[in-house]
């Protein structure tokens, strides 16, 4: 019981995730700055931002339902932290693993977007409402490719649990190469999920101020920000676990170190992506996802099915 609590709250639960998220956030921002030939923020900046927001007054617009408004960010954080509990960090599987947890993780990662939508939609501000509508529109565009590209490796591994998948790829490391295409589409979908450039359409500041978050302030905004940062590392960890399942055999600190390197590597790729692209328009984003990313993700499914057929023979 105490072990579970420790697992949920401290490591690798909330506390670890929060600290790691802040570090990842710092690396993302610093790298972004370096790539833009700037100095960038000092190491404590994400923490300072969080403390600053937490110390500020929470302003709740008069017409909104205060409960929903306050609960939305809490749900967002809870969902991403819960999702993290199923992702293997230093060995195959986690104490919580069960067959089918990959589906659960994917769904839990959808919840933040839904809370962005609810929080924004019920903010009663035109900017928030447009941002919220865009969040949902975008969800439909990236969610299918993300599911397809994560589930394809599961098909090949013939296991619906992350632990099972990593175990399979640990035994057959070369099979992970079949999933290279999926890695690519999953990364693109992750950019959409995290609402990062070029898919930061729901919070495009030059159009709709801060999108869903326009009316949020203080602790509630801090929670949303934290949820997004944690979602970034959880999403990155998921992709790392599915597509780069190497080194978990080493066990212990070595595997954990490799986990950090993989996640931060993906964070670096995200930082690079947001440096070199312009923001797309919502129609362009949806077209791109349906006409390019989804078919390619589907191709990944076919590759894995064929590969599986060949292996079975």
């Amino acid at each position: 019981m105490a072990g579970d609590l420790f697992y949920i709250l401290v490591f690798p639960g909330f506390l670890f995730l929060a600290v790691f998220a802040l570090i990842a956030d710092y690396i993302d921002r610093k790298l972004h700055a370096k790539l833009q030939n700037r100095i960038g923020p000092p190491w404590y900046q994400p923490l300072a931002d969080l403390i600053k927001l937490a110390a500020k007054e929470d302003l709740i617009p008069r017409q909104v339902d205060p409960w929903l408004f306050k609960l939305a960010p809490v749900f967002a954080v809870t969902a991403v932290v819960t999702a993290a509990l199923y992702i293997p960090i230093w060995r195959h599987g986690t104490p919580m693993s069960f067959n089918g947890d990959v589906i659960v993780v994917l769904y839990l990662l959808t919840i933040p977007t839904l809370t962005f939508f609810l929080g924004g939609w019920y903010s009663r501000s035109v900017y928030s409402m447009i941002g919220a509508a865009r969040s949902i529109m975008q969800l439909f565009a990236y969610e299918i490719p993300l599911f397809l590209s994560i589930l394809a490796p599961a098909l090949l591994a013939d296991s619906w649990s992350l632990g099972g998948m990593t175990l399979f790829y640990a035994h057959h490391p070369w099979y992970a190469l079949f999933n290279a295409v999926g890695l690519f589409t999953a990364l693109i979908s992750l950019l959409g999920k995290l609402e990062r450039v070029p898919f930061d359409i729901p919070e495009a500041e030059t159009e709709i101020v801060a999108g869903s978050f326009t009316e949020y302030s203080g602790r509630l905004l801090a929670m949303f920000r934290l949820a997004l940062s944690i979602e970034m590392i959880v999403g990155a960890a998921l992709i790392a676990a599915v597509f780069l399942p190497f080194g978990l055999n080493l066990g212990g600190p070595a595997a954990f170190g490799l986990y950090l390197v993989k996640v931060l590597g993906i964070v670096a790729v995200i930082a690079l992506a947001r440096t070199v692209f312009a923001r797309l328009r919502i129609d362009q984003m949806i077209n791109f996802c349906w006409q390019f990313v989804a078919p390619v993700a589907f191709l990944q499914v076919i590759i894995d099915l064929v590969a599986k057929g060949v292996i079975a023979r």
């Binding site: 833009q36 900017y127 495009a204 030059t206 159009e207 692209f277 312009a278 797309l280 328009r281 129609d283």
Partner: protein, 413 residues
Amino acid sequence: MSEIRSRNVTIPIGPQHPALKEPTSFSVTLSGEKILQVGVRLGYNHRGIEKACESRSFIQSLYLIERVCGICSHSHSSCFVQAVEEIAGLQLPPRAMYLRTIVAELERLHSHLLWLGVAGHEIGFDTLLMYTWRDREIVMDLLAAITGNRVNYGMNTFGGVRRDISHEQKADILKAMDTLEERTKYYISVATEETTLIQRLSGVGVLSHDDAIRLGAVGPTARASNVKRDIRKDDPYAAYDQVPFDLITSDCCDVYGRTLVRVGELMESYKLIRHLLNNLPDGPLAVKAPRKIPTGEAVSRYEAPRGEDVHYVRANGSEKPDRVKVRAPTLANVQAVAHMLKDRYLADLPIVVAAIDPCFSCTDRLIDLTRDGDGRCDVITWGQLHDYSMRWYKGQGMDLAKLNNRFKCGESS
């Protein structure tokens, strides 16, 4: 019908909005993401400069006029100075003409580079913003070295210019031109090759050739619609009739075309500045101007980086102008914006507005001097805000009053 109408939302873009660097107000009626209608309300930045000039002497007005706009300060001051010089019948020494033109072209450089960055920012491409503004610093430093300030150069005076360009500065400028030319070539390659950029710019904010003429568009906005309209060619002033340069136009008629025109003009400006510097005539910097300007009137036109700037000055023989009228380029272009936004996406609004390179402080020039009828005002003063925050933090169990005494600022009204 009412069902349909109720689905439309009207969102305010401005007076304060992240897309606008200056206050103006667009009320945009949307159906989903589509823009149905755009209403523009200007005037938030009116500072009464035209009226204020009438109670100031010419030399005082000059510095006021220079502050009509931060970015094109040299444009406005040159335009004003030209009008006054025409009334007073002053013949400028050739060196003054050349120096004025050099600063004008340097200003065009930094304005266009600034625009490129702003355009990048409006479409969420902050990297372009960071790079172009980094390179723009080269021009800013040159201007600071030549004139003594980064903006509001104070280069002009009636009858000439106030500062000279030394030999070392000339060498510095020529060197900087080479660097910037290379950088601009790179930006041209980015603008014409980066897919996400082209997707956001191409086909957006279309203004046809005929519409551009009908709506009176000026500057790069008009030239991108293939209207050959450039005051430097049509109505040459300063040294422009003595230097060779090309008129850059594009027939894309959209934001992409406006980008191409501006980067094209950057390349022309490098050429111009080199030519001007290498042929800089010797001589005095200024002729002496009288304090009292004889009775007369003059219209002065000037091709500012954003388009045609028009000043009308009337003098009545005293030390003060009788009437000063400023028509900034944005006022001519803003009509076209509403036209360009019809049936476009909301996401295009920032870049379409930015594409005319608007400068609303140029456009408006008067502050609200009267209070509301009952004398009440909804201005939260620094003191009130400070007291409120103290109370709020005290309610949270933190007493910052002691800490804050050190920062408490005395205010004078």
